[in-house]
Amino acid sequence: MAKKMGRRARKFAKKNLQSVMKRKRKLNALFQKKFAPRQEKSDSPEESKNLKNDMQTPVDPEQEILDGIVSTNPFGDLFIKEDDDSGADVSDSDGYLSEDPECPYISEDEEESCPEEMCKDVVLLEQNTEINQRLKNQKRKLSKLCKKDPQFSKFLESRRSEFLKSKSEEIYSDDEGDTSSMDDEYIVGNEISQVSKVITSSTVDVWCWLVMEQPNWPGLANLLNAFRAACHYGLDTGEVSPVKIANREVFCKILTFVLSEAKGIFCGLLRISGFSNKETILKMKNKPEWKTTRSLIKSFLRSSLFLLNQETDNQILVFVLSQIRLSILLFSAFPSLTKKLIKISIHLWVTGDKDLSASSFLILRDIASEFSLDNIDTCLTKGFGAFIANSKFMKPQNIEHIEFLENSVVELYSLDIQKSYQKVLMSVQQLASILRLALKTKEKDELKKIHSWQYINCISLWVKFVSCNYKNHDLQQLLFLIIGVIKGIAHLFPGPRYLPLRFKCVKMLNQLSFSSGVFIPVESLLFDCLEIRGTNNAEGTKLKHLDLALLLKVPNQLLKSQDFQQASVLSAIKLLAEHLSQWCYHVSFPDLATIPLILLKRFHENTSIESVRRPVKRFIDQVQQNSDFIQRKRDQVSFSPKDKESVDSFLQLEKCDRSAAFTKFYDNMLQNALA
């Protein structure tokens, strides 16, 4: 049914309303995006397979969207899917609730005072008046004709009925399943349309007041019907609702009131204090009140989901989401709705702006933490899938968003390590096997797979996961595997062209080393960039700002430019400082710093890039200073390297104070980078 409506609306819009069409297109695109990742969902083995597929065939996103448009009607698909998977919920339809006939209706003559003023779409309004004008003219003409020839009106009448017949047949042939209901509805609609009640603002006020006053007030159904009508407003013009919303205030009032008060209302109905956890919902299911309220709750949830699907404004979405979140546990009683909610939230989380993304993430997190295991699974796999699908490109605009997505996935996966560990391990093994193949064959396609943002973002996601959870869980196997993969990546792409990628690897290794406390040598990975020698021509391509974070491979024309050399040397120093700062209180710091110092000093002597001289010199001094400091300290001790405990306790006090000069230097460096 909804499918029907949607199609009709679109047809109309396509014909007549360019601006609306544009909006719809946007909406469509959103849906396509949502549907693209959905294909790589479900159980874990499949997921890994899909991940692999995803890796192997970097699908052109546009193509994907196009395909989506061609193959699926997004709305229809969505709704059909729902009906399919809701085994238990099939019985109750997504219709209106049976109403309380004694509900008060206060009729007022306030129907749409002057909507024109409020509406900003001037074009549409103009069009409307114009059409109106023409309509009047034509009507006048018609009536004239009818007057002139009374037989014509008879002819017209017969023609019309014929036309209707053929039209219904057309529909019949169009989609067979729906016809009977369509026909019925057509007739019913015609009948009811006269009966449908107009809800005025005073009616709403009274209703709201009544609902708040008496928890068991039977008119709640009417209010929820009104809510449903409001949610569906404007999108299903063909459907005839038993209620008619008088004006925008009513519309607004119904939506906000129901959304914000739903939790309280339903709590009152079920006679519970609130939805604190799963158990209350389970208990609640056994209560006698549940039977009566079930359909009400369901209607409310359905309508809200519909609103989420239809709405495109971020702020409204955020509002709806935050209100739904208050009563999110209600969803746990309706698995199919939960699935829908997950689907929508993931979509909004991936595509929305900052606030929207955050609030959808909160929904997801709540579902993952509070709901049954199945839902956690779906949340994890779908969340990961959506992240992977969306991390194909890195641009300055979306770098923050991707980081947020990454963090959210880590959060989701950190909720239940027992469960997610297997998934993560499988994913990392997948990455490792891709890498192994590439190392063996060295084929271009294989290398391309690794040398992609998708791969790198995936690795960096798991690095984050490991470093967040290493302290509390035994993730050693995973840690070693990831280190192996990262080292393999660095090994696979030597040469200055791939320095940005290498910096990323080193950064991840530092991160892992820092969180796990194991020693990972990274220095040799950075020495390369001390030996790049450019052509030294200053007039070469001058870039305002060369951001290595956004690159995996340096474009050829930049390779010899001074900007690139400067940027790479500075990044290398930063990473080196990161590495050294981790061990700056360790007894072997002077030895660790020996080779970097020798090489840096030589670089400092030989380099032709004046701009890096100073930072390099400063760095050398700081390292040297710390080295001397440790040297002095360790000359005073009497234990040997094999005395593990003494080694571990060496300079622990200073470490806790973070008193060494090098620490301060490093902190400074970080702050400068931020500023």
Binding site: Q138, F155, Q315, D416, N469, N472, S524, D528, W583, T594
Partner: protein, 835 residues
């Protein structure tokens, strides 16, 4: 079998014709009918062999027609293309009997195609073969057949004519073109067949048909390159087959004058013809080698000749060309030449070693002419040379030196060098003398003159090889010197400017045990210079780190093989290794070379000076802190070796106050010293190991732990765990690929620390998250109202439009209504009128 074919053939034709072209099918059928007539006529004449001929004709004709159709289809296509197509098409045709002068030829074509692996025709050909052998026996039959085939030729011409006429009728405008194509195709095919015929004749009976070689040669002057190529290749096949296993010596004039038997004359004639044609053939090849389009074929022929008949006359000429192309920029040519040269080196039995020497000499010339700017492959081939083990032994060595450089061996004799082993030497010499006598006796008795000769050959070859190597080294050092003075800025990897150095070093490493002591000093000086480390960094040295490490390795190899003989100070090489450890970059340089250098220079060989050992121990420990697992592992294995060998160095493991007393000149450790002896490493402590125990790689951390524990075990015991692994092995074992392939199945061991869900945020700031959720409700309200308004307008718009359309259609219906009304009225008036 003839009958069988006859039965098979006719039904084959019609469907094909129908498929291709209906227009011609009438004629085709006509032809077949005619053929049948002919066939019938022929069978009357001769029953046995004519069956086959008839069949042959039929088959041939059908092919002609097929070709015709094919041609017609591709009227527009180029002649050349047609040729190519034809080539493809003709091959299967050859499988069938073809119109020929006599039966023999026909059989050969078939045979040839058979070798082209057309298997479904095999049965037929075999049968044919049998038949042929029968036919060949009697001369009478031969004659008969010739007659018949002549007749057939006539008949075929007729048929062709008719076919053309038929075509003319239908496609007059394309006729000329088709004919042209046909003739070209025909010509090509005829030539090809002829080539095959002659070739097979030659193979079958070289003595009789030796003259045909000239005919074949003539074919190679054809205008068509394809024919030329085919001709060259068939000649190659023929020569490979008929060239005798000896070298032909043409009779001298004196000999010519002598009267000899008929057989000898014949043999002489045969040999001289063969030799002359071979000469002409080679001349042709050599000439063609200069033409770019034919170069590849020519080189291929030359290379395979060299491979197949290196003993035969004119080998020198072939060798010259092959070696000339050994560093050709064309990959296939180069590969062909290299492989041919390698086969010369490997199969010395074929030519007795002379060719080897010649080849090496030629390569040496090339190297000299091109000033070492050749493809590395050209030097690489030398490593497939093999020398007898005893070539380096005194007797032969003495001999070699006697031949090459007289006197040189005698003058700087054992007195200054071989003090230690003089006794041994003299005994050896006496032994050698007796052996020489014995061999001389043996030689005089036995027929084989070779073992001496062979040794001479080998030693000459060897000296030529070393000449090449030394030339390359010399060149490298020269250019190295010039480069370091002129342009230091243009840094490039050595491999590009000195392409031959790497294979040269490899070869030197391989033959290091054969190097003449005389060269030793020079060689060492060269290597030292090449490996040379200058204080000003890497820029001045054009050689890559791997190459320099290779230099060190070669130097040590050479030294180790001649340790008794020489006492050159290797300290410089140690200094270089000590510093090269810092220059090494994991993915740029070859880790295996480094590991090998560590193995040869530090693990093997004699005891080290304590200072030096300590310096290396310290440096290796520091090295493993900065480098990847594989390198670190190799370094640690070496370090362990050193600690095991130098028990005193185990003091480095302990933090004693007395550690400094051991350190000689330098009391304090200088990490950036360039000379290991001056680093004062004895005064240091191996603190690195404590950090290495935290290494992520478990094998490294356990290795570090085991090294640390060495200090406490008393020296006598520690000998027990002398690890067997070499640095090279360790390097390979912990390479990244191996590291990745480690099984990680033990995934279930996740610590069951927290069964419950973790409710805290691990990454994000919860407060920020919550705050981000606040929405301005008024704003939302406003937006909701907007939304309502927009939707309202849209709904309104839609409704209005619907209504408008409705009325419009109603109005348009009015016209229709009027029309109908008029018709009605007409009808009624008509009816009225009709009434």
């Amino acid at each position: 079998m003839g009958k069988k074919r006859k039965v098979i053939l006719p039904p084959d034709l019609p469907p094909e014709v129908a498929d291709n072209d209906i227009e011609v099918s009438d004629e085709d059928l006509e032809f077949i009918g005619q053929n049948r007539e002919y066939a019938g006529f022929l069978t009357k004449l001769d029953t046995k062999s004519i069956d086959r001929h008839v069949k042959r004709v039929a088959g041939h004709e059908s092919d002609d027609l097929e070709a015709l159709y094919e041609q017609r289809k591709r009227k527009a296509s180029l002649l050349k293309q047609n040729d190519d197509d034809d080539k493809l098409q003709v091959d299967p045709v050859d499988a069938l009997p073809v119109k020929t002068l006599d039966g023999k030829l026909e059989y050969r074509t078939v045979d040839r195609t058979k070798s082209e692996a057309i298997t479904n025709e095999k049965d037929n050909t075999e049968e044919n073969e049998k038949d042929m052998s029968v036919v060949k026996l009697t001369k009478k039959e031969k004659r008969l057949k010739i007659k018949k085939s002549r007749k057939e030729a006539k008949k075929e011409a007729k048929v062709e004519e008719k076919g053309n006429v038929g075509v003319e009728k239908l496609h007059t405008e394309v006729l000329a073109k088709v004919e042209e194509d046909l003739s070209a195709e025909e010509l090509f095919r005829k030539k090809k067949i002829k080539l095959a015929e002659i070739g097979l004749q030659l193979l079958e009976n070289p003595e009789e048909n030796i003259k045909s070689l000239k005919e074949l040669l003539k074919n190679c002057d054809d205008g068509n390159q394809n024919i030329v190529k085919l001709g060259l290749m068939s000649l190659l096949a023929v020569f490979k087959d008929i060239i005798p296993g000896y070298r032909i010596r043409l009779p001298t004039e004196k000999e010519m004058e002598m009267t000899v038997s008929k057989a000898v004359l014949k043999q002489r004639f045969y040999e001289s013809t063969l030799l002359n044609s071979y000469k002409a053939y080679l001349a042709k090849l050599i000439a063609m080698e200069k033409k770019p389009s034919l170069r590849q074929v020519a080189v291929r022929c030359l290379a395979s000749l060299l491979d197949a008949v290196p003993h035969f006359n004119y080998r020198e000429n072939i060798l010259a060309i092959v070696i000339k192309n050994i560093s050709s920029p064309d990959d296939t040519i180069r590969k062909l030449c290299c492989n041919a040269t390698k086969s010369i080196f490997l199969n010395e039995g074929k030519h007795g070693g002379e060719a080897t020497f010649e080849a090496v000499r030629l390569i040496a010339q090339q190297v000299k002419i091109y000033e070492c700017q050749l493809h590395p492959d050209s030097i690489e081939v030398l490593s497939s040379l093999t020398f007898d083990e005893d070539i380096g032994k005194p007797d032969t060595q003495a001999e070699a030196v006697k031949i090459k450089k007289k006197g040189k061996w005698k003058t700087p004799d054992g007195s200054n060098k071989l003090q230690g082993s003089e006794k041994k030497k003299t005994r050896q010499e006496s032994l050698a003398k007796t052996r020489e006598e014995v061999t001389a006796d043996f030689k005089s008795v036995s027929f084989a003159p070779d073992s001496r000769e062979r040794k001479r050959m080998q030693s000459e070859t060897l000296s030529a090889v070393f000449e090449i190597y030394f030339r390359i080294l010399k060149h490298s050092t020269d250019s190295h010197a010039s480069r370091s003075t002129t342009d230091a800025a243009s840094f490039s990897h050595g491999s590009s400017s000195l392409p031959l150095l790497a294979p040269c070093l490899k070869g030197l490493g391989k033959f290091s045990h054969l190097i003449d002591l005389d060269f030793m000093g020079d060689l060492m000086r060269c290597l030292k210079q090449l490996a040379g480390y200058s204080d000003h960094g890497t820029i001045q040295n054009p050689l890559s780190v791997s190459e320099r490490l290779q230099c060190c390795i070669v130097a040590f190899r050479v030294m180790r093989n001649n340790l008794e003989a020489l006492n050159i100070d290797l300290q410089d090489f140690f200094v270089q290794l000590y510093n090269l450890l810092l220059e090494y970059r994991p993915d740029r340089d070859q880790g295996e070379v480094l590991a090998e250098a560590l193995k040869i220079m530090l693990c093997e060989g004699k005891q080290h000076d304590m200072q030096r050992a300590a310096a290396f121990i310290k440096r290796l420990a520091t090295f493993s802190l900065s480098y990847g697992s594989a390198e670190a592992m190799a370094a640690l294995v070496t370090l362990k070796h050193l600690l095991q060998k130098n028990s005193k160095c185990r003091n480095l493991l302990e933090n004693d106050a007395g550690g400094g007393s051991l350190s000689g000149l330098v009391s304090k450790y200088q990490p950036d010293a360039t000379d290991p002896n001056l680093s004062g490493a004895l005064g240091s402590v191996l603190w690195e190991l404590s950090l290495l125990t935290k290494h992520y790689n478990s094998s490294i951390s356990s290795m570090a732990a085991s090294i640390m524990s060495m200090g406490s075990v008393n020296p006598a015991q520690s000998q027990v765990f002398l690890s067997t692994a070499s640095p090279l092995q360790a390097f390979r074992d912990s390479s990244i690929l191996c590291e990745l392939s480690k099984p990680t199945s033990k995934s279930a061991t996740s610590r069951q620390k927290q069964r419950e869900l973790q409710k805290d945020y691990v990454l994000m700031d919860p407060e920020v998250m919550q705050n981000g959720n606040l929405v301005d409700e008024d704003e939302v309200r406003r937006k909701l109202e907007d939304r309502f308004a927009v939707h309202k307008v849209i709904t309104e718009n839609e409704r209005l439009r619907k209504e408008l359309n409705h009325t419009l259609s109603s109005i348009s219906l009015y016209e229709e209504y009027n029309r109908q009304k008029k018709q009605k009225r007409k009808r009624t008036t008509k009816r009225v009128l009709g009434d």
